[in-house]
Symmetry: D2
Subunit: 140 residues, 4 copies
């Protein structure tokens, strides 16, 4: 079966996304404007309080955000992102980041990314805005 555009974009981005590779990110589901990825919390991701470093939670969400935002083919770059912290993840936790499109405009787009362990409880909430360039990411 032919790969979807969302899958092609993910493959192209992941090939040189050494940071997402370091996080051990794997795709769960990919479609236009939507993305669900997973990773396992490792010792190198912990902060001085023995929990997942907030910045790595952000990085995990930011990767989901980038895959979803670029899934339309239009090259999209982060302008702003924000994160809130409800519950802490621990070493060994398997986390899922799910990105959904809130608004797709001509030049900007907005996404929510929720991070959970697969149950309904949300650990971290991310909301971000991209600027959408004219370039097709698959032509770069």
């Amino acid at each position: 079966m032919d790969k979807s555009k969302a899958q092609l974009v993910f493959d192209k981005m992941m090939a040189t996304d050494y940071c997402s590779q370091w996080m051990g990110i794997e795709a769960v589901t990919l479609s236009e404007g939507h993305c669900k990825i997973k990773m396992t919390v490792t010792k190198e991701m912990l902060n001085g309080f023995g929990i997942l470093h907030g910045g790595i939670a952000y990085a995990f969400a930011d990767s989901a955000f980038a895959f979803a935002a670029n899934s339309y083919g239009r090259l999209s770059v982060s302008v702003t992102g924000s994160m809130s912290f409800s519950k802490s993840a621990q070493e060994g936790d398997i986390l899922y980041a799910e990105a959904v499109a809130l608004h797709i405009g001509y030049k900007t787009a907005e996404f929510d990314v929720n991070i959970s362990n697969g149950s309904k409880e949300i650990y971290y909430r991310f909301r971000g805005t991209v600027y959408r360039k004219s370039d097709n990411i698959l032509d770069l």
Copy 2:
């Protein structure tokens, strides 16, 4: 000379902050409510566009934020953080994150963290809020 409280807090947090260790973070200046740290962008920190992953920029800022917020001794945990992206850092760049206190309340506090290469131009801007617990971080 005796170490300052800010230095003691930094040392205690860094000892088990495996993520900040992974980022290669070093202290430049530490004082109550203020912190300046540095790191060098490595290949593992890059995203699929060949630039510093936005999440690692956030993580770098978040570490500076945490050191500054805890420097008063009161255990402080992130509630929200946001970041904006003005300029991209490249592999090999030496970056500085400087955290300054905007507002220190009884139960919440707010900080700005600017990331630059040491010149006046800001690459990434972070603003975050902590909740301040009653516990003394040095007694934990």
Copy 3:
């Protein structure tokens, strides 16, 4: 029938909330951790581009946020709020702001507020954090 606690809190807050009165805010549904209110866009709410001033959209969301956050009885004050703009409202539009609890912690809580004209399309998205005091708002 006895009024719910959420209704009592709303009534008490609205009695001296001259700004929400100026906006013409009316309750649609009120319950613990949830609130839906409405208003009509007036000429005095427009900005220089002939559309609803972004700050009044924020104020409308902020009122819904405050009613929902205080609906538990614990006095709750805003720490941070953010808003994104997807579609502009015009004079005469009837708008609804619906607040939902994302996370209720011991000392902080987070809410989303979406503003629409009653259809599925969201015009403005608000996300905010409160600090929860020990005081009971109904005892003040």
Copy 4:
């Protein structure tokens, strides 16, 4: 003396900005990428706790943001804005909102707006991003 472009843009926007007129906003200083405005807190701006409604603080900042962002001549529209609350203003307080450019990009720009009573203490902090259109606001 000829009016500056920043002054011409302010005059054009204020002429139909009924909301800023309702707030009683007056210009203090206007230049490219910078704006300082003032207003007096009235009873209609208060919330149910007897202090300035957070949304009106946001609206005041948002007006300063809009005047500064449009001062270059390029039509600029809000994408996101966030606000944090350090100190409450009371009825009769004279407030100043000062907008400064953080980053001016080709298609997006970012500004900080601090609100104070003229002393060094900041009551409210706003940070926002605009999308910059190609249209010249003075030609509309």
